[in-house]
Amino acid sequence: MVTTRRALLAAGAGTLIAGCGPPDEHVASRQDVLDEQLRVTNESVAAGAPRARARARKLQAAGAKAPPGTGPSGLEHAYDAEAAALASYVQAVGASRPDRGLLGELVADAAASQAELARRLELDPLPTAFPGEPK
């Protein structure tokens, strides 16, 4: 799931209260949050998730920057990458209110993508009522 330091910071940012942390504590900026969403989306692109490229373009259009994904490709990897991307987008909703319009589009598309890939893998496409729920 969300494993990088930046992702964890982004995930926790929504619950931080400005001024309450130690002086040198890093609070994820809006740019950090968008960059992290592009990073996980690029992993989905690298894994071969068909819908991910359009989401990456939307994030780039919003100013996000991240290197290309480097993970393995294949149907199962694409499914896992889309699950990770969806969880990251849900976390980002909590971290960045100004971008929730865009994030809502990303959530809906990644969720549909995950269901589509699940069908192709003959997995349950509707395994939970709360896809992307933080673990």
Binding site: G14, G94, R100, G104, V107, A108, D109, A111, R119, F130
Partner: protein
């Protein structure tokens, strides 16, 4: 508050859900609107499954259970903002179409339309909900409705929904 609730209940039946809120609603207004949508959806899926009997796609049962889970989650969020669970609303709009659909094709068509409206309503809610945790819960429910819409679309013969 009562007048605003009535207005929102009416707004839920509008053909353009993204414009359902005329002025800035409170967090409670948004949650009540979503709750009524979930309650209506659960009732409508139940009625559709009953109408189709053994011909009902298995997905309808799963989706109805999900709508019930969503309503329970929203009930928790409503309690967090000091509001109780509203009474079940009368079926109107697309939920009523789904409840009254008489064959598999009509059920799937109405169900896709209903999930489309739910996706729009939750996307709108993300912008309106100030609390980060409540917005994240709404985001997971948005994801669920997007999956419902996709799966129902495939069942209705619309691959790539």
């Amino acid at each position: 508050m009562r007048r605003r609730e009535l207005l929102l209940a009416t707004a839920a039946t509008l053909a353009t859900p993204a414009t359902a809120f005329g002025s800035a609603p409170t967090e409670g207004d948004v949650l009540l609107d979503l709750m009524r949508r979930e309650q209506s959806a659960k009732l409508a899926y139940g009625a559709a499954a009953k109408t189709l009997g053994s011909q009902a796609p298995l997905e309808l049962v799963t989706i109805r259970r999900h709508e019930s889970d969503h309503a329970d989650a929203l009930s928790t969020e409503l309690a967090a903002v000091g509001l109780g669970r509203p009474l079940k609303p009368p079926l109107t709009g697309t939920a009523r179409e789904l409840a009254e659909a008489s064959d598999r094709r009509a059920v799937l068509e109405a169900a896709v339309k209903l999930e489309d409206e739910l996706v729009d309503a939750y996307r709108t809610s993300l912008v309106l909900l100030p609390d980060a945790k409540i917005a994240m819960t709404a985001a997971t429910i948005l994801a669920s409705h997007a999956q419902h819409r996709f799966i129902l679309g495939v069942a209705a013969g619309r691959p790539g929904s």
